[in-house]
């Protein structure tokens, strides 16, 4: 990846590119990426977090029910304040935004490759 005094060869594969390549090849979880790339799970996790932070990967929290505060999408949350949903501008039920690094999260995070426009 790097040569003397920090020389970088563009496009040469390091851990980040290996993670992205495994992702694109269909790896469905960080554990699977670690298995495919041989990288440590902690490195894979940090790499995924970095890719989310830099916008190359999109992260959404998943929930099988309505989010805290509700989305006004159904009767169960009709009286909940601050929600959004059908007709609203916020995320719909069962989704939200978050990063895998959030230590408070108790649910899964869905990660997808971000779509980017050409330079």
């Amino acid at each position: 990846m790097t040569g003397p005094a920090g020389a970088i060869v563009p496009g040469r594969g390091g851990p980040l590119r290996a993670v992205l390549a495994a992702f694109e090849a269909g790896a469905g979880s960080p554990a699977e990426i670690a298995a495919r790339t041989g990288l440590d799970r902690a490195v894979v996790s940090a790499a995924v977090d970095h890719l989310v932070r830099t916008g190359r990967v999109r992260a959404e929290r998943l929930a099988s029910g309505c989010p805290e505060g509700g989305c006004h999408g159904c009767a169960s949350v009709a009286s909940a304040p601050g929600g959004t949903g059908p007709g609203g501008s916020g995320p719909a039920c069962g989704s939200g935004h978050g990063t895998p690094a959030d230590p408070s999260r108790r649910g899964p995070v869905l990660l997808t490759l971000a779509r980017r426009s050409p330079d």
């Binding site: 920090g6 440590d40 790499a47 099988s64 999408g73 039920c93 108790r106 649910g107 997808t112």
Partner: protein, 690 residues
């Protein structure tokens, strides 16, 4: 690093508030690190009472500053805002970058202590890598070592220090341990010249091509076509190469990758075959437990409504002089029978919602999502569609709205058409009632079987649509990052269960009351006989006549009886209405027993009261009659039809909003046709077997 006047000016600008200031000429130490690594706890431990916090001048970013005396030498300490990297994405990170990078070298801190979380070492090393790309004095302080040890993470600090060419000190700021070693490392660091950057890291002055801006139409471009120049991904990749080597060095004595307890469980729970079996077993257990445990509670509640509540309401009506009038019949045969019967299911719903909340909070349902996702992708369905479909098992309305998370319009259309086939919790009450009537010994297994049928509908209809009207849909790579398993927290479980139960109660108190009133009104309008409005027997009412017109459609499915058809009609409004309508219809059909006589079979002891046993007997009699003596086959056919036909008007409204009227109409027609065909198939095959 600088003269005393510079030191004083740096120290004094750390806050706009008055407070203890370091002596002129005192070196400045900056604490940097990601959020939640214990950086401020360390700052408090180092500075004790000699500290204060205030906004950095010209910003709203809070920065702590104070004095510390490592080895008897006074230094000023600055607690920088939490930052993951020196590529700022927030005002906090911008300030950290400004103070460590953007200001002239003579105004930067004399030494930076990078605080690293031992449980997430790789994540913290990125900031250290960026700081080390410039000549600087750095010490790494490793926190959370006790938690890391509990997770089985063992780090060799000497090897780590060698790999990152930086002194590394383990500290526990909460207990005050390791602070003397940190003090020694800081003093030693201050006394030596700035360290040159490691050769493995990119130069701080490397030209970087601008990162492409997010856009809608070029998936993965940054991965496939990085271009000829060095971009931000190249730089980050170089840092991660350095991080990977450091982590490998620090953990190299372990021999093989560390598997956490969650990893070991996931090897089974998310495996293709084992995961599916565990999922099925878990759901069977939920439904079996729900039906077995809730049955006595349901009977007790029904007894309460049948006895004291109904008697009390009758007494109140008599007291008000309304005991024999139309209003009394509406209250007793309408509201009490319809809504009351539905309310007997509250214990059952509460128990099931609670069990599902336990599964969710423990982290298991996330694993079930992985299993479901894998199945969908293998069938050629869009992987992300599993999310709204999972939501659909709670309620179809938010599930339809949840299709907005899908980026492709055809994915949204397909998923919106599939959501009604996911069996929402409103349908569960009908399953339990019918399964309890016809299969009392196996009610839990029958309900479980219906959820499997629901999954089958989703898969078969989904594959069918993808093969016909919605061909050539693109898919995108996706990944699910699972949380570790947790012991469920009772507070969170109860809150999740209550949120869903509140939805059930809200529907029962709003939409169902309205439906009950409408049904009662239709039952009060005579179309045959000589009875007047409100006095007509239900079989002579407009309600029964309408249902009779439609009921022949269901004769091939074995439930072509007007009582059943009428329940399906109101079930179009909401599935909870099926039970209330049945209870209301049968309550209105019952003449009161003569004084001194016991109630007849199928007749409630208190006429009009919500009696599940009486309702069950009556339903079974009509199914036996309409099916030609094959009530079990007709019951299965009815349940399958109920599962597959239009869920409720609220879902239709949501579908119309998301996919338009034409596709909503297509969906209604498809659901009705599918439901009818499968119900007929089930009955015709079932009656040959029973």
């Amino acid at each position: 690093m600088s003269d005393s006047s510079t030191r004083a000016s740096v120290a004094s600008c750390h806050s706009d508030a008055a407070g203890p200031a370091a002596a002129a000429g005192a070196p400045v130490i900056a604490l940097a690190g990601a959020p939640n690594v214990g950086k401020t706890t360390l700052f408090n431990a180092l500075t004790g009472s000699h500290r204060q916090t205030g906004n950095w001048p010209g910003t709203s970013v809070a920065v702590g500053h104070g004095n510390w005396r490592p080895g008897g030498r006074e230094v000023a300490v600055v607690d920088l805002p939490g930052s993951y990297s020196l590529d700022p994405l927030s005002p906090d990170e911008q300030l950290t970058r400004d103070l460590l990078v953007e200001v002239p070298p003579d105004r930067r801190p004399d030494l930076t202590v990078v605080v690293l979380d031992a449980t997430a070492l790789a994540r913290g090393l990125y900031l250290l890598a960026q700081i080390r790309e410039r000549p600087c004095r750095v010490v790494a302080a490793l926190t959370m070592n006790d938690i890391a040890a509990r997770h089985g993470i063992v780090l060799d600090l000497d090897r780590l220090a060698e790999a990152v060419t930086t002194p590394v000190v383990a500290v526990d700021p909460r207990r005050g341990t390791g602070l003397d070693r940190l003090a020694a490392a800081v003093v030693a660091g201050l006394d030596r010249p700035a360290q040159p950057p490691p050769q493995e890291l990119p130069s701080c002055c490397h030209p970087v091509a601008p990162a492409p801006s997010p856009g809608p139409d070029d998936p993965g471009q940054a991965v496939d076509d990085p271009g000829p120049t060095v971009d931000d991904l190249d730089l980050a990749d170089a840092r991660f190469t350095w991080i990977d080597a450091a982590v490998a060095a620090a953990q190299q004595r372990q021999g093989r990758p560390l598997l956490t307890r969650s990893d070991r469980i996931d090897r089974v729970v998310t495996s293709p075959v084992g995961g599916a079996l565990v999922f099925l077993a878990a759901m069977w257990l939920v439904f079996q437990t729900t039906t077995a445990v809730a049955a006595p509670l349901q009977r007790g509640l029904a007894g309460l409504l049948t006895g004291p509540v109904t008697s009390g309401v009758r007494w109140l009506l008599d007291l008000a002089g309304l005991g024999q009038g139309v209003a009394a019949r509406f209250v007793i045969q309408g509201l009490l029978a319809g809504v009351g019967m539905l309310l007997t299911f509250v214990p059952l719903m509460a128990l099931m919602f609670g069990l599902l909340a336990v599964l969710e909070d423990s982290g298991y349902l996330a694993r079930a999502a992985v299993v479901t996702d894998r199945l969908m992708r293998r069938l050629g369905l869009p992987g992300r569609a599993f999310l709204p479909l999972v939501v659909g098992f709670g309620c179809n309305v938010p599930a339809v709205s949840g299709t907005r998370v899908l980026p492709d319009a055809r994915h949204r259309l397909l998923t919106t058409l599939l959501v009604p086939f996911t069996s929402c919790s409103a349908r569960l009450t009908v399953y339990v009632l019918v399964a309890g009537i016809f299969f009392p010994e196996h009610a839990g297994s029958v309900v479980f079987g219906l959820y499997l049928v629901s999954l089958l509908f989703v898969v078969v209809v989904g594959v069918g649509l993808r093969s016909t009207v919605l061909r050539a849909m693109p898919d995108e790579p996706l990944m699910i990052d699972l949380p570790p398993y947790h012991l469920p927290v009772p507070r969170l479980v109860l809150r999740a269960a209550w949120t869903r139960l509140r939805g059930f109660l809200s529907t029962a108190s709003g939409l169902i009351v309205g439906t009950v009133a409408l049904v009662w009104l239709l039952q009060a309008v005579p179309v045959s006989g000589n009875a007047s409005f409100g006095e007509v027997p239900v079989q002579d009412s407009l309600y029964a006549a309408t249902a009779r017109t439609l009921s022949p459609v269901f004769t091939p499915a074995g439930f072509g009886d007007w009582h059943t058809t009428s329940a399906l009609m109101t079930g179009f409004v909401a599935k909870e209405a099926v039970i209330s309508t049945w209870a209301q219809t049968y309550a209105a059909s019952q003449p009161p027993p003569a004084p001194g006589q016991a109630a007849a079979p199928g007749q409630a002891a208190t006429p009009g009261a919500p009696d599940p046993a009486a309702l069950g007997t009556a339903v079974r009699q009509h199914f036996t009659s309409s099916s030609g003596g094959h009530p079990a086959a007709a019951a299965w056919a009815f349940l399958v039809f109920l599962l597959a036909y239009t869920p409720c008007v609220a879902t239709l409204a949501a579908q119309r909003r998301e996919i338009g009227l034409r596709w909503t109409a297509f969906g209604i027609a498809g659901q009705l046709l599918t439901a009818w065909l499968v119900a007929v198939l089930v009955f015709q095959v079932g009656r040959l077997l029973t």
